[in-house]
Subunit: 354 residues, 2 copies
DNA sequence: AAATTAGGTGTGTTCGAGCACGTTTTGAAA
DNA sequence: TTTCAAAACGTGCTCGAACACACCTAATTT
């Protein structure tokens, strides 16, 4: 019933040699006669030896200094969650010698990002976790880290044609499809649907475009395009025209508006407008469990939120690095996190996991 | 930047004593002069020493034999997932000396359950994970385990007025409310809604009743009762009348039927009927990612499934026992798992977690 | 006064893996 | 045959915590 743990010593005894030799075989350190190596390998196979990583990590005492490059949560509160996630992971993994230094940059200033990325490189870390929101600017750093053999994990924003240890985040296309499905389920009568990109520099946000593609693809596949008219708007109100004016205009153009899909975490802006104007029948779907979003979810002005699990992104990002560095596990190049559908009724269970 | 790990030896040196003495203080083993004890405690506080559990568990070599009492997956495939979950946990925790013996009982035979529960008791395990689907019969065992100081974790079915280490599962009431919310979102026009308990002994399944209460509560709160007529039916077709006959009857009584809520994992039975009869407009919501359910989810005959995360129940159940026994962590008496809303579009991410 | 006991305290070994270093063997050159 | 380096292999210490055991001292019993 109780399986005995197989130790290096056991292998050595069975192979009539010493643990030093077995150790050399295990770590390919050479200096072992071929016949002995063969014999030992066979026995390892036989007993299916698995290294005791408790003993391993006790011994190795090695510390790993990781760097996390994330946008400033004070500028955009969305980033609080990934930060919390990586801190949670750090706490769990400190035992295994994982240390993280956080480098926080301003998501609206490229120079700030570059400065921090340079700082990260200078630290010569054992691994990097990064939210690569500046596409063009991050590429040279990826190159440099690659030559220095520093593994880096991407999260939040997927970037093609680079070679990270892995990407953690959501499948944006699928995410758009999911939003479409939900809205479609809630709409019986025809009408128009607004896809809103709010306060976002679209040219630098490929994932928002991908979401929209997924969204439109759903309706295209359903061949219900005739029934629903889908219009896209970029809404920016930091400078110039106000939100209300822009939305007023949209409603004038689309009097039949029956649903709004907000592609980032700013659904509360639309919700505020709908509440003030008393437009209770317009379905609203957005992203992320930010405080203002949750308020409107509770009032049922926002119908559903899709959770990107930003905490999980930070948490798993660090864990993937640890799995690679400490536990030498094989890492899948992509880890898609679930597309959680959140409504007032199941919200609680997603708020602070674990 | 790098925090040094504080060891027992460090404390000993600072207190001008030996690690043996510090050890006695740490474990309250007595035989330490009062002044020395005070001094050591203060230093422990100061350096905020945290035991290195890697070294701890390497040394202690203690093994923990757990027992898992679960229904036979061959009788009801629902139980495959918890089984897989606890096996996953076992794999992760074997390093820490956790062993599990599975005792599988027939969920339709009380005697089988009692026999296995007795067997479990005889093994004198260090902890028990149990799906207590037989309410009355399980109570004496809880009592016995309590006197023997064997911690037990409940999952799937919550039982009041007993004192488990913790309960893992869902909030059934909330689960019912969630289902109501989804259905309500999808229905604009009036009609009647069927709550179906399929092939289940209701008298012994309190959680199904609770789900229905939550479901009805949602509509009651909304005061939309006038708009929607909610009817409950127990549908059993293992003996006597067939499923089709019973559903035909229901449809005759309720020609306006616009949605069905199945309280357990048997939604596919209704789906099969709806498909055969070509009733595409009836919304169907049920539970659990069983193969037949998934097929109908893919065909969009089932609109949404609520995931009880049965794999997670097994997984976390074992982990809670380990947290208690091995890591001496404080355990929350209830761990509600998220009420995941699953549809065709986000299904993939819930299928094999991790 | 000698013997015993209880109260304190320090030392040394163990867990399994990793690695430095020391030792033996081998084969080829002197 | 002797010499010597490279190859092959074994020994022993280390990581931090746990615990058995040995040790010392002072108080109590005979």
């Amino acid at each position: 019933m109780k399986k005995k743990i197989v130790r290096i010593k056991d292998i050595a005894e069975k192979a009539q040699t010493s643990k030093g030799t077995v150790d050399r075989v295990l770590h390919n350190r050479g200096r072992v006669a071929d016949d002995v190596r063969e014999r030992i390998l066979k026995i390892i196979e036989e007993l299916n030896y698995e290294p005791n990583f408790i003993a391993q990590s006790l011994k190795s005492q090695r510390t790993f200094n990781l760097v996390a490059l994330i946008p400033d949560p004070h500028v955009d509160p969305y980033w609080e969650a990934p930060k919390a996630g990586l801190e949670k992971a750090e706490k769990e993994l400190r035992q295994y010698g994982i240390y993280i230094s956080q480098l926080i940059f301003n998501p609206h200033e490229v120079t700030s990002f570059i400065a921090k990325a340079e700082e990260a490189t200078k630290e010569n870390p054992d691994g990097v976790l990064i939210a690569p929101i500046f596409y063009k600017e991050v590429l040279p750093f990826f190159k440099e880290w690659a030559t220095k053999d520093i593994p880096y994990v991407l999260f939040n924003t997927q970037i093609e044609h680079v070679d990270p240890l892995c990407y953690i985040g959501q499948d944006s296309f699928q995410s758009g499809e999911l939003a479409a499905k939900i809205i479609c389920f809630g709409l019986q009568s025809p009408g128009s649907i607004l896809v809103a990109h709010i306060n976002e520099d679209i040219s630098n946000s490929a994932h928002l475009i991908t979401k929209e593609e997924g969204f439109r693809n759903y309706f295209a596949r359903k061949a219900e395009r005739e029934k629903f008219r889908i219009v896209t708007k970029e809404i920016n109100f930091s400078e110039g025209t106000s939100l209300d004016m822009q939305l007023d205009q949209i409603l004038t153009d689309e009097p039949q508006l029956s649903a709004v899909y907000v592609t980032n975490s700013k659904a509360f802006e639309i919700a505020s407008y709908l509440e003030r104007k008393g437009l209770n029948d317009i379905k609203l779907v957005g992203y992320d469990l930010l405080k203002p979003n949750l308020d409107y979810l509770d009032k049922e002005i926002i119908s559903f939120l899709i959770n990107q699990n930003p905490l999980g992104q930070g948490y798993w990002g660090i864990h993937q690095l640890a799995n690679h560095l400490v536990f030498k596990k094989e890492i899948q190049p992509i880890k898609f996190l679930p597309l959680d559908i959140i409504t007032k009724e199941n919200l609680d269970y997603y708020l602070d996991p674990e």
